[in-house]
């Protein structure tokens, strides 16, 4: 039983990083109907920027953390400006954008590969070696911090989306971009904001995920990519916060599979869930049903 609880905590930690990353996917998809392949690389970018600032530049961790969030957010804005907006304005087919996001992801990955090398590096972490005992098993403090921080961030995000004017603008963009533009809302601005928020969340996820593993390398973005996809699809890709529930579920499934079936199989359930959801209920758990208009 205590093992099961330990697995659950691990699953929630993993799921938190998936959930935070998944937000970026679903936000971009709900507004642009674009599968953003750069997003999983942004997770890696965030993790590395924090490493560079905290370890190589020697910033205090809190300052490095804030700077990382801002910088990654601006990376998000920048690549949207440079690669996606020109195509969107000229009404190019979605596939061109899709390939652009893949190109951006290759570029970002290689920039970090060339500057940081491919070796695995030790990651700075908080509360090293500290743990508390709950019901006879140990929970590290960092795990609790991650889960709490995720909960806080997600609550702020939901409040922002549902209660503020900007959030309303975002929701309206996801329903109908043209009508939103006609209401005098700057769609370009909203999309920039969307990429900023999505990238910032991914950065937080990247930093926290690497803190819990205590290591970072170039391939972490690829590793998380398809799983966050699966989370987003499971939650409903068009729904702004569907990915959160999807992320937690995928994280839990992954840890349970690794624990009870075998760690070789830990990567399989995400794909099985992905394919099953797409075939059985493509709109996901919370997605709105698409209505085809003639």
């Amino acid at each position: 039983m205590s093992n099961f609880l330990a697995y659950t905590i691990n699953g929630l930690v993993l799921g938190s990083t998936y959930a935070l990353t998944a937000i970026g996917y679903s936000m971009v998809y709900s507004i642009l109907e674009l599968v953003n392949f750069t997003h999983s690389t942004i997770y890696m970018v965030g993790a590395y920027l924090f490493y560079i600032l905290a370890v190589l530049a020697g910033f205090p961790l809190w300052l490095a953390f804030i700077c990382t969030i801002m910088l990654t957010g601006f990376v998000g804005i920048a690549y949207e400006r440079i690669t996606i907006r020109p195509l969107r304005i000229r009404k190019q087919p979605k596939f061109a954008m899709l390939i652009c996001t893949i190109g951006t992801s290759i570029v970002l990955q290689n920039i970090f590969f060339l500057t940081m090398g491919s070796e695995t590096r030790q990651y700075p972490t908080l509360f090293e070696g500290m743990y508390i005992q709950v019901l006879g098993f140990n929970v590290t403090v960092i795990q609790i911090v991650i889960i709490v921080a995720t909960a806080v961030l997600l609550s702020i995000f939901l409040l922002f989306i549902n209660k503020t004017k900007l959030g309303m603008a975002m929701r309206s963009c996801s329903q109908d971009t043209e009508a939103t533009e006609l209401m005098g809302i700057s769609v370009d601005g909203v999309i920039s904001l969307t990429f900023f928020i999505g990238s910032a969340h991914a950065a937080v996820a990247g930093v926290m995920g690497c803190m819990s593993y205590r290591s970072v390398d170039i391939s972490i973005g690829n590793a998380i990519g398809t799983k966050t996809f699966a989370s987003t699809v499971l939650g409903g890709i068009g729904a702004l916060y569907g990915g959160v529930v999807g992320g937690l579920l995928i994280g839990l499934t992954e840890v349970y599979t690794a624990a009870y079936i075998g760690s070789n199989f830990r990567n399989i359930p995400a794909f099985v869930i992905l394919i099953l959801v797409l075939f059985l209920k493509p709109n996901g758990l919370f997605g709105l049903k698409q209505i085809k208009k003639v």
């Binding site: 674009l34 190019q92 596939f95 061109a96 899709l98 990955q109 794909f271 797409l278």
Partner: protein, 330 residues
């Protein structure tokens, strides 16, 4: 006049084909021949993907998986049963086509982004299966010592012989695809791309046509895979990962959606460019990524929204007009 034109056209086409077969015979550089074989194989991949993604508008990012299915089917049959290559090729084609039908039936009910994600997932799943089903596929070590093809009693081994076979295969596929997109079926696919609801109203069985197109594209990808397996003599799951699917899709988008000649030109460009970048070593992928972005952004310019082939058509029309003017002068 018209007869003369079409005669000229046919002479030009035959001359072009003759040149394509003859020139490599004088090329002694094995490396150049190798790149040419890859161009043929990638052209098959790109133009078959163009059928489903370009002509029919159903974006698939799992095309490399079908290539992998074809390659492994062909290689395994040849390794375990020692059947001649044409039989392996046929079986690879059938196997990839059948998988295409099985995946296509549920997957093609999905729209846009969902289909993209689904095919990405499928590609990853195929990779994981190839990697983990070690008893059959020997996992990451890959299959080695795949038999070289024997055609009409000749064992294909030199670069030119391979190019001859690959070029022939490519030309067959190209002519086949070009005829398909001009047939009633091809027009149905175009209608589906333009507007599914309207197409359905006109009596086109949208889902069935999509699945047939998907299966055809997959089957052709399977033949490309078989060619690849028996050319490389060694295959591993790394050859069929999602990155390759991305490359094939870039070829289709770069060449112009639904434009077969464009796909072939784009396949050439995207095969030769990375080869030229080889000298740059570790900067290679960085520059490849930048090129991918620039090519897509470049497409927004007017000369190129019209895609590579429109420029070609424009040039051709100008030439024909000049010919016509001369004809009148006589």
């Amino acid at each position: 006049m018209k007869k003369k034109q079409s005669l000229l056209k046919w002479i030009a086409i035959f001359a072009l084909i003759a040149v394509m077969y003859a020139v490599p015979a004088f090329v002694k550089n094995e490396y150049v021949l190798r790149v040419c074989v890859y161009i043929c194989i990638y052209s098959i991949m790109a133009s078959s993907l163009n059928l489903i993604s370009g002509v029919c508008g159903q974006v698939s990012m799992g095309h490399a998986a079908f290539c992998g299915i074809g390659a492994y089917t062909s290689a395994l049959i040849s390794l375990y049963f020692g059947l001649p290559w044409p039989v392996c090729l046929l079986l690879a084609c059938v196997m990839a086509g059948v998988t295409g039908v099985l995946i296509g039936i549920p997957a093609l009910r999905l729209q846009g982004g969902y289909l993209v994600i689904c095919t990405v997932g499928f590609n990853e799943l195929v990779r994981l299966i190839l990697l983990n089903w070690s008893s059959l596929t020997r996992g990451p070590m890959g299959l080695t010592n795949i038999a070289r093809p024997v055609l009409f009693g000749i064992r294909i081994k030199s670069g030119y012989q391979y190019l001859f076979v690959a070029l022939t295969l490519f030309l067959i596929v190209y002519v086949l695809l070009n005829n398909i997109i001009r047939s009633k079926f091809g027009r149905n696919l175009r209608a589906i791309k333009e507007d599914e609801t309207a197409a359905e109203t006109m009596g086109i069985r949208v889902h069935r046509e999509k699945v047939i197109a998907f299966a055809l594209a997959s089957a052709l990808a399977g033949t490309a895979g078989s060619m690849l397996a028996h050319y490389m003599v060694y295959i591993s799951p790394a050859l069929f990962i999602g990155d390759y699917s991305t490359t094939y899709l870039s070829m289709v988008v770069l060449g112009g959606m639904g434009n077969m000649a464009g796909s072939v030109v784009a396949a050439m460009v995207l095969t030769i460019l990375p080869e030229m970048l080889r000298g740059l070593d570790s900067y290679r992928m960085l520059i490849y990524g930048l090129l991918l972005i620039l090519l897509m952004l470049g497409k927004t310019r007017d000369w190129s929204t019209t895609s590579l082939a429109r420029t070609w058509t424009r040039g051709k029309n100008a030439l024909l007009a000049r010919l016509r003017a001369r004809g009148k002068g006589e």
